[in-house]
């Protein structure tokens, strides 16, 4: 037999790698290779479900700034969102993370303002959050499918998988996404030792991942409405199934004039704003 030494070493090397690899695979995954039987994984019975979740923000129902602050607070508490402050107590713009917040008309709807519009409309604190678009650019650009669409229309974020490239933040035309520039546990409101309070039913995040509003999928799954909807004044935030003809939000959107943020970009935002008519002029 005339096998060259070089070839022998190659074959020996490769076969030993393969056999060791197989041994390791065998030792670590004797029970499951493909995972649990799909039949073992079941949705919750009490879960709220929809074909297409959507939200109406009725600006006539937000009377005072306290109303919006309560909503923001409820969301951020429910999801352990860090509240970074500068030493003088202001929001730290460098580290800021937010899921839902307020913005003036010309900020939420840039280009649609005019200089003669009523001060009232101009100063309205519009609740802004992820639009859970029909055709979300963030999902398109994500290189790991860490952000993706759920069947019910929610644009979800898998913080386990996110590599922190921040392409989605460049892609989102609504500024809805936040990055964890540092460990969120550094924020006083999440630090138990400094009087912070945590929602123990929801995780925190690690530094280096992107996060955003998830329409409270974790609450919908246990039969609860989103935290913001619960905290808002009655009827101010309406949450429901856009595909259901009989749902309250569908009826309102069909019968009244609503606007959406930047619909011309083709993203198909699912947050509708009711501004209200002459009653506030």
């Amino acid at each position: 037999m005339s096998m060259k030494r070089r070839d022998f070493l190659k074959i020996a090397g490769i076969s030993s790698i393969l056999s060791v690899g197989a041994k390791i695979a065998e030792a670590t995954h004797p029970a499951w290779v493909t995972g649990p039987d799909p039949k073992q994984l079941v949705p919750n019975k009490q879960a709220l479900s929809a074909k297409r979740w959507a939200m109406i923000v009725d600006m006539t129902k937000f009377k005072t700034e306290a109303d919006t602050l309560k909503v923001i607070d409820a969301c951020h508490r429910a999801h352990n969102v860090p509240d970074f402050r500068t030493p003088d107590g202001k929001v730290d713009k460098k580290l800021e993370v937010k899921w839902i917040w307020q913005a003036g008309f010309e900020r939420a709807f840039p280009g649609q303002d005019n200089k003669y519009m009523s001060e009232h409309l101009k100063d309205m604190p519009f609740m802004v959050l992820c639009n859970h678009c029909d055709n979300p650019p963030c999902v398109r650009v994500c290189p790991t499918q860490a952000t993706y669409k759920l069947k019910n229309g929610i644009t979800m974020q898998d913080m386990h998988r996110c590599i922190g490239c921040r392409f989605c933040m460049a892609g989102c035309p609504y500024g809805a996404r936040s990055f964890n520039w540092v460990d969120p546990r550094k924020a006083a409101n999440l630090d138990v030792k400094r009087g912070g309070k945590l929602n123990n039913e929801y995780p925190q995040r690690t530094k280096g991942v992107v996060e955003k509003c998830t329409f409270c999928t974790e609450r919908l799954q246990i039969g609860k409405m989103p935290a913001c909807v619960e905290a808002a004044p009655k009827g101010a935030l309406l949450f429901g199934d856009l595909e259901d003809q009989n749902s309250e939000i569908r009826k309102i959107i069909t019968t009244r004039y609503t606007i959406r943020r930047k619909p011309d970009l083709g993203t198909g935002p699912a947050i509708y704003y009711l501004i209200g008519g002459s009653d506030h002029a």
């Binding site: 995954h29 073992q40 079941v42």
Partner: protein, 141 residues
């Protein structure tokens, strides 16, 4: 036969061996006793929650495969919106959640996670995000 650059080669081999065996002599004399795993008070809580002492799957399987299970749970919950897991062992329906299920029974991260992980020198990333239960006094003793 002559070994060219012999000095360099031998020095290289010595340096390589020193580095490669570093973990062994670094640990010489350190206590490597197996952890004495304390299961209480977990089992009591399982009785409270499910009426009997049981884990999601048989104990031996869980010890070996819990990381695989958790990976599948994570994807099922986050990506497929399935929150319930039917045990192959008992058929009981469990909530697929580290914080809201596992750690409700295994209420001490120190006892149930750290002891073995430290012994095995593995550092899972779970607690970078997930909130560990507050350690009770009895767990500390």
């Amino acid at each position: 036969m002559r070994l060219y650059n012999g000095g360099l080669i031998i020095t290289g081999i010595v340096v390589f061996l020193a580095l490669a065996t570093f973990p062994f002599y670094y640990n010489i004399g350190k206590a490597n006793a197996k952890p004495d795993i304390k299961l209480e008070p977990a089992i009591k809580m399982s009785e409270e929650r499910y009426g009997k002492k049981q884990c999601v799957e048989p104990k031996e399987w869980i010890r070996r495969e819990h990381m695989v299970l958790l990976n599948h749970w994570r994807d099922a919950v986050v990506r497929d919106e399935n929150r319930g897991y039917l045990s192959t062992d008992t058929g009981t329906r469990f909530n697929m959640s580290l914080q809201n299920e596992c750690m409700q029974c295994h209420s001490s991260k120190k006892n149930f996670c750290d002891q073995c992980h430290n012994y095995m020198a593995v550092k899972p990333f779970c607690w970078d995000c997930h909130i560990a239960p507050t350690e009770k006094e009895e767990a500390r003793s």
